[in-house]
């Protein structure tokens, strides 16, 4: 009997909770869990056999920023398969359907946080470095931030996001690629920031001029260690705002032993401390699901043309030889090519690594990820040079 693939409905909620229970962890409060999943149901796809849910995926068209532009990306999340159906290719079949749907909707990129990076790499997702997750003493934070403990930072507690916080986040996030916009009306991102549905205690928000932080103080399970300040979310919109923000966080000195925070690439604190104080954090993987849409939304730094051979076994519309015209004024056109002598050839993961800046053209060729002309590939690697990848862990999906 073949599997039936269809979106889940409210009638499937019990089955969904059962599958998630065995895939992730037991669902203790089914009512709350169902409430949390309701908003996701329009973006679900299930594989059923004999009416029984065997595997499920969600692909949410989140608003995101790419190269300074607002786009939609397919956020893959909630992948779960019943134990008896594992290793049957159901996730791959669902993803291929999702890729086709995203293409129809004009969405060029998908992203996800893998449980293990090689699983989704087989389906074309490429890991990209996503900032720095650091845990350090408040003293080290203060030293690297170059702030003092003296002085009033002007922090005011807030219980929910204010328009000023939202504006600060907007100014901060637009510097980065794959940051969510949080204004897509799909999910209540800001409520989620202050309190996850499964949390009994809210996080605390503090608004400062040109900056904010949402934090919690958590006790470690074992004495004699003392508490850790966990910065769930933060942003700033000016150098002065940044100084106020880190002065505010440094003021937890002596109250907490450590501060845990997720910093973007290029942050001076991360540059100082990443070699020493990096802690494990979820990876970010991205996929080009439609070459035409993916390249056309990006800002290119120069006019360039090239012919590339792309290998993509899961997205046949990406699998072929293409003439690519990049416009320094923005945008790109991608058309099928009859050339039998492309300038370069690479698979879709290598292309994602190149476009997101995860690898230089020189590395791609030297490491066997690509073949052809470095000079021709080079313009593709400059699209996000001014907007490095950074998606804060607060926006994990």
């Amino acid at each position: 009997m073949d599997h039936e693939f269809r979106p889940l409905t409210a009638d499937d909620m019990d089955q969904l909770l059962d599958v998630r229970s065995v895939a992730y962890r037991p669902v203790e409060d089914r009512e709350t869990a169902a409430e949390h999943l309701t908003w996701r149901m329009p973006y679900s796809l299930g594989a059923f056999r004999g009416g029984r849910l065997r595997s499920v995926t969600f692909m949410v068209p989140f608003g995101a920023l790419l190269g300074g532009r607002q786009v939609r990306i397919g956020g893959l999340t909630g992948v779960a398969t019943a134990p008896e159906a594992r290793r049957g290719g159901l996730v791959a079949q669902q993803l291929r359907r999702w890729f086709a749907d995203l293409r129809e909707d004009g969405i060029g990129w998908s992203a996800e946080h893998p449980f293990e990076p090689t699983f989704y790499a087989k389906l074309g997702y490429q890991t990209v470095l996503n900032g720095h997750t650091l845990e350090m003493t408040p003293e080290r934070l203060r030293a690297s931030a170059g702030v003092t403990l003296a002085g009033d930072t002007g922090a005011e507690p807030v219980e929910s996001a204010s328009p000023a916080m939202s504006a600060t986040f907007g100014a901060y996030a637009k510097r980065f690629s794959f940051a969510l916009t949080r204004d897509d009306d799909i999910k209540d991102h800001w409520s989620f920031t202050f309190r996850r549905p499964w949390e009994h205690v809210a996080h605390f928000g503090y608004e400062l001029e040109d900056a904010y932080a949402v934090v919690s103080v958590e006790d470690p399970p074992v004495d004699p260690s003392r508490a850790t300040l966990k910065v769930r979310d933060m942003a700033y919109s000016s150098p002065a705002g940044r100084r106020r923000l880190f002065a505010f966080l440094a003021a937890f000195e002596r109250q907490v032993d450590r501060v845990r925070l997720h910093l973007p690439p290029g942050d001076p604190i991360a540059l100082d401390r990443a070699s020493y104080q990096t802690v494990h954090a979820p990876e970010l993987q991205v996929r080009i699901v439609d070459l035409r849409a993916a390249l056309s939304v990006l800002p290119w730094q120069e006019d360039a043309s090239l012919t590339i051979r792309v290998v993509d076994k899961d997205c046949p519309w990406n699998d072929g030889t293409f003439d690519v015209e990049l416009s320094g004024a923005g945008g790109a056109t991608v058309t099928g090519s009859r050339s039998s002598d492309p300038d370069a050839a690479l698979d879709v993961r290598a292309l994602a690594a190149l476009v997101t800046g995860a690898a230089t053209p020189e590395s791609l060729l030297a490491d066997g990820w690509a073949e052809g002309s470095v000079a021709k590939l080079r313009p593709l690697g400059r699209a996000l040079a001014g907007h490095p990848v950074f998606k804060t862990h607060n926006d994990h999906f």
């Binding site: 290029g266 590395s363 066997g368 001014g386």
Partner: protein
């Protein structure tokens, strides 16, 4: 009265206890002979004729943007316990910056005990690769290979492989200048020389040993390859240790497929790397830029007064130059030595430099500066650490 000068043989008796206290080096004949060999690289700060502090600056040569450049490798900075916090290190560093400038060396680098200490003197922390401890199974490839152990003194085959590999990156040492033993420091480092095996695997090599201090793992001290097939052969060779070890500790360069796949998951604590531009014109000389650009840059650098001012920068495919502009010239971009190194070596993208207040001015000028080394990212192999 304070004096800063190079050590002589007469200063060794005073230098040894300072270094021993700071680093735990034994007061041994080996230590004495080592200092005798490197006296030309060690400056001392003396107070009333008594040695108070020492700093070594190795005269390395490094690849930078596809060119070879002199690189002052700051190491073994130590101050007598009773002389701390009296400005001896600052005096030593300023003198070293002068010496490097006089010798036409544009760059210095260090591996700090605390990055903030040297940041005060203009050393900027930069990303320089990923130290990962990988499950040995992820290295497996189907590439057939033949591994041949090479004599650790024989660099006739591994030397050219290293040169081709290392020249793709910036700040990787050339190892052919005789400093600190050159390639021997990779293939037979002091203390490990009897445990390391260097294997030639076609157009690749690896110098590695099995660390048995806890759960055994393969420690790859150095490796290089010159082709994709060579890389596959190298990984297949390392994967052959499966069974003897569960994990492989290896320093991966930026952009390596294993870095991209596992750089987050298996990252290990590692030494930091900081770089300082001590002479901007010397640093830019010999480099080439992907596109023509011309702008003015104000550099605030009181520790290096010869470059404290406004420069006119001309960058292009045919070469780059920085010349001091007349007094009163308006600058398109303003920064200090930290921002300069961060922009040049890709530690901060231009918009981050502006957003964090490290630089001010025109993002296009910063883009041009950042583009200089973008094709040659920073990577310092484990064996180059100093």
């Amino acid at each position: 009265m304070r004096e800063v000068r190079f050590l002589t043989g007469d200063d060794i008796d005073a230098a040894m206890p300072i270094r021993s206290f700071a680093f735990g080096h034994p007061m041994s004949q080996d230590h004495r002979e080592f200092l005798e060999r490197i006296l030309a690289y060690v400056l001392g700060s003396f107070e009333g004729g008594r040695l108070a502090s020492v700093a070594t600056m190795w005269p390395f040569t490094a690849y930078v943007g596809g060119t070879r450049q002199g690189l002052g490798g700051l190491a073994a900075v130590a101050t007598a316990p009773t002389e701390r916090r009296r400005g001896h290190v600052a005096a030593l560093l300023r003198r070293w910056f002068e010496v490097l400038h006089e010798r036409g060396v544009g760059l210095s680098a260090d591996s700090p005990f605390d990055p903030r200490f040297y940041a005060r003197y203009g050393y900027q922390s930069v990303s320089h690769g990923h130290l990962v401890k990988l499950p040995v199974s992820v290295l497996a490839t189907a590439e057939p290979y033949e591994a041949v152990e090479v004599d650790p003194d024989d660099h006739s085959q591994v030397g050219p492989i290293h040169a081709q590999f290392a020249s793709r990156y910036s700040l990787a040492l050339t190892r052919d200048d005789g400093t600190r033993g050159g390639m021997n420091y990779a293939t037979q480092p002091p203390g490990l020389d009897e445990r390391i095996v260097t294997a030639l695997v076609g157009d690749a090599y690896a110098s590695a040993w099995v660390d048995r201090s806890s759960e055994p793992y393969l420690f790859v001290r150095d490796y290089a390859y010159t082709s994709p097939a060579g890389r596959r052969r190298l990984l297949a060779y390392l994967a052959s240790f499966a069974g003897q070890v569960d994990h492989v500790l290896i320093m991966l360069p930026p952009g390596d497929p294993l870095t991209a796949m596992y750089g987050d998951r298996y990252l290990q604590r590692m030494h930091g790397l900081q770089v300082r531009v001590v002479d901007l014109p010397a640093t830019l000389a010999g480099l080439s830029a992907p596109a023509e650009a011309e702008f003015t840059l104000s550099l605030t650098d009181p520790d290096c007064p010869w470059q404290d001012g406004v420069f006119r920068l001309r960058l292009g495919p045919d070469g780059c130059e920085a010349t001091l502009a007349p007094a009163g010239t308006t600058a398109d971009v303003s920064l200090g030595p930290l921002g300069l190194a961060a922009a040049l070596f890709g530690a901060q993208d231009p918009r981050s430099l502006l957003a964090t207040g490290v630089a001010e001015g025109d993002v296009a000028a910063l883009d041009a500066l950042a583009g200089l080394l973008s094709r040659h990212p920073v990577y310092m192999p484990r064996a180059d650490h100093f």
